[in-house]
Amino acid sequence: MTVATPSLARGAPPGRFSLKKFRDFPMIPMLILLIIALVAIFADFLAPYDPQFGSLSQRYRPPAWQEGGSMAHLLGTDHVGRDVLSRLIFGARVSMIVGVTAVLVAGGIGTLLGILSGYLGGWVDQVIMRVADAWLALPALTFAIFLAAIVGPSELNIIIILGAVYWTRYARVIRGEVLSLKQREFVRLAIVAGCPKRLIMWRHILPNVINSAVVLGTLMLGVVIVTEAALSFLGVGVPPPKPAWGLMMADGKQGLMVGRWWLTVLPGTCIMLMVLSANLLGDWLRVKLDPQLRQL
């Protein structure tokens, strides 16, 4: 896909012969993400059934092409007779919202604290990094269950949980970036010029770490969605009957043993496609925007 010779491409001044032109934009991943996003937006028009309700008499219909399936339920039905296709379609919305928002929350908190920590240094840095350490030691699951108990289960809750769990990754990476940015001339110049700290962080530091945050975000999207599935497995994920891909997999896991593959394989494929696309896009962005970014 890429004729990568980073040594030549990196930091090339404008006009200089550059290999960037050889890097093809990852069309297919972008297209997949776009389709998922469109499906999520227009779920109401696309889904043939209400994703949250079904009839027990219709339960466990296999996909249409399999024996016993019918065109009425193209991708079959689940344990309470809900249409799998409709759930997948609405699941795109739930998973997208949960995934993207959680990444934004984690990214927002992490970037902010990372900048503060890296730029201000001293006790601020110590406090933020120690909190991050303590946070890291608090397993995501523990946190998830506690939060579910306090706030009650909801998508919002999952977003908060995932955001709260993953901000430390951003904070660490961004802090590292800021530390090296601080040594750069334009920042030093701004400091010498008496620019207030707030302004330096806002005007000089933030725009320069935003690339890393974006790249990290695309890579985190997959992690977040898979974590959501794990939480559902343990019963503290997106609450049923809301359709989310991870929840659908967790709900359908028993079907694996009895040949009801569509209950797990279909949402699993959706997750895979999304994670795959987000990662490929992230990889591309990483090379494009910031080849230095290695963490994760």
Binding site: F53, G54, S55, L56, S57, R59, Y60, H79, V80, G81, I145, A148, A149, G152, P153, G235, V236, P239, P240, P241, K253, Q254, G255, L256, M257, V258, R260
Partner: protein, 533 residues
């Protein structure tokens, strides 16, 4: 109920471990037969064969050492899974009899109902060889600190031991439920060896428990497995299986896989789809046990005049809108009986209500009459996450009728603490497997001040107060039946089903012990469990 094929172990050729002294066996057998008067005499002598082989259970929960000590029995069913093996009680539920004399040979209540006198069975021994005496019985009662311990002791004036085989419980005032509590609702009647416990202390006792049950403790690894071995001095009969192993396997699918591969012989709690698969797998059998855990919908807002749930017609409509049989069929293959009551059908004072009806048309009518012809927003539907699948099915039916609810599954701990702290509203999907009788259940769930009562009806409270002091069994039964009837008529609850516990049994198992004792979820009595020859 089923005592037929219990003794199918005429295996003199069983692996050459036959080093028993025949005299001992005969004595024990004779004892068992004389007291029970069941089991075929002719076969009895064939039990001279020593226990053999090993059976392994895949258990769905983590085993806790507290379960090895009857004194700490919490009010949940699971500890009895182990207690039936390791210990024995004076009186306990056995096949066909909810209060069968075990370590007690017999008992009688004084005419004034102020004292109960038990005779300890002669010649019964603990695993360490000590005889079971009246002292042990007294000690065990006084040592007991599990569920309802405070209440038991508060009502007790004295525990007397006139001789080594006689124990007399003297009550402060008549208490009709004493035997219920002593025999099944608590662990107070399960006997531990006084001398041994006093010698080793409570901590050590849990590490190396000694009891009077059919199996003695061998080893325990928390979270992994418990191993027990047949106790050849068990009074009732010689167990036929040498070793019992209980392995914790939390994931349902894994339990089934282990069963299929023959790693375990029995797997507890195999639900829904997996149960279907189990049923189809040659060599494996599905064994369902109905346990004392009814499920229900509780209309928490019914006392709030502003709530639509205040209208009895709405509650009734909700009850009519749900096809309980179909739900049971879908989730437990139809094994969970639709009893239409919040009281387990094996409990004392249980009143059998009319069968549940599924009539969506009538439900709509009722709703229309109540002014909700086009349906209504009925609020939240709370449930324990582990039973969200039941909720999903139920909520679907209510939706069809026009009762639109939002499912709010809560993680188990959070659910039960919110439930009891009265923080939930609208509709609650509850369940209970607590021990006791109809009165104890009603106290918690229907009477003013009950731990899970969100509101009360004065007539019910009155009736309940009356029955509490009623000594006449018959009158008391009437009063309790009346309360249950009122609850049914007013649709205070919408009972869903009484949960069936579905288990898998492998091909090596002869008698699984499952379902022998009514209401008991697990294999028991273990001395009746056999391996197929």
């Amino acid at each position: 109920m089923r005592t037929k094929t219990v003794i199918r172990l005429d295996s003199n050729e069983s692996a050459g471990t036959d080093n028993r002294k025949p005299s001992k066996i005969t004595r024990r057998t004779a004892m068992a037969l004389s007291t029970l008067g069941i089991v075929e005499l002719g076969r009895g002598t064939a039990m001279a064969a020593s226990p053999d082989g090993q059976l392994t259970w895949a258990v769905h929960v983590s085993l806790a050492p507290t379960w090895f000590d009857p004194a700490e029995t919490p009010g949940i069913i699971t500890p009895f899974m182990i207690m039936y093996a390791m210990h024995d009680a004076m009186v306990k539920p056995m096949p066909g009899n909810a209060a069968e004399p075990c370590l007690a040979e017999s008992w009688k209540a004084a005419p004034d109902k102020l004292s109960y006198e038990f005779t300890v069975r002669a010649g019964v021994k603990f695993h360490n060889g000590d005889p079971v005496t009246a002292e042990d019985v007294k000690f065990s009662f006084e040592r007991y600190r599990g569920t309802s311990a405070a209440m038991l002791k508060a009502r007790m004036k004295a525990v007397e031991t006139p001789d080594a085989r006689t124990v007399r419980f003297v009550l402060k005032e008549p208490w009709p439920d004493f035997l219920t509590f002593y025999s099944s609702a608590t662990g107070a009647g399960w006997i531990v060896p006084k001398k041994y416990v006093e010698k080793v202390g409570d901590e050590q006792f849990k590490k190396a428990p000694v009891g009077a049950g059919p199996y003695r403790f061998v080893s325990f690894t928390p979270g992994v497995e418990l191993v027990m071995e047949a106790f050849d001095g068990y009074w009732r009969k010689m167990p036929t299986v040498k070793r019992l192993v209980f392995r914790t396997v939390p994931e349902e699918g894994t339990r089934l896989a282990a069963l299929k591969r023959g790693e375990v012989d029995m797997a507890y709690s195999i639900r829904g789809e997996l149960a279907e698969d189990l049923r189809k797998t040659p060599g494996l059998t599905l064994k369902s046990v109905v346990i004392q855990a009814p499920f229900w919908l509780y209309f928490a807002d019914q006392w709030d005049p502003k709530s639509p749930w205040h209208d009895q017609r709405v509650r009734e409509a909700a009850r009519l809108a749900i096809d309980y049989k179909a739900v049971s069929e879908a989730l437990t293959l139809g094994y969970s009986p639709v009893t239409n009551s919040i009281i387990p059908d094996n409990f004392a004072f249980y009143w059998k209500p009319p069968a549940a009806v599924y009539n969506p048309a009538k439900a709509k009518e009722l709703l229309a009459a109540a002014g909700h012809g086009r349906g209504f927003e009925a609020g939240d539907y709370y449930c324990d996450t582990s039973y969200a699948n039941v909720a999903e099915a139920v909520i679907n039916y209510l939706q069809v009728a026009g009762i639109r609810l939002r499912l709010r599954p809560l993680e188990r701990a959070a659910f039960f603490s919110s439930y009891s702290q009265k923080k939930l509203k609208n509709v609650i999907q509850g369940a209970s497997g607590a021990f006791g009788n109809a009165a104890t259940r009603l106290e918690a769930f229907a009477v003013k001040g009950g731990a899970y009562t969100y509101g009360n009806y004065p007539d019910i409270d009155d009736l309940f107060a009356k029955q509490a002091s009623e000594l006449d069994e018959k009158k008391r039964t009437e009063l309790l039946h009346r309360i249950q009837q009122i609850i049914h008529e007013r649709s205070v609850y919408a009972p869903i089903w009484q949960l069936a516990f579905l288990n898998g049994v492998g091909k090596r198992v002869g008698e699984s012990g499952l379902g022998l004792i009514k209401g008991h979820a697990y294999s028991a009595p273990y001395e009746d469990v056999t391996i197929k020859k």
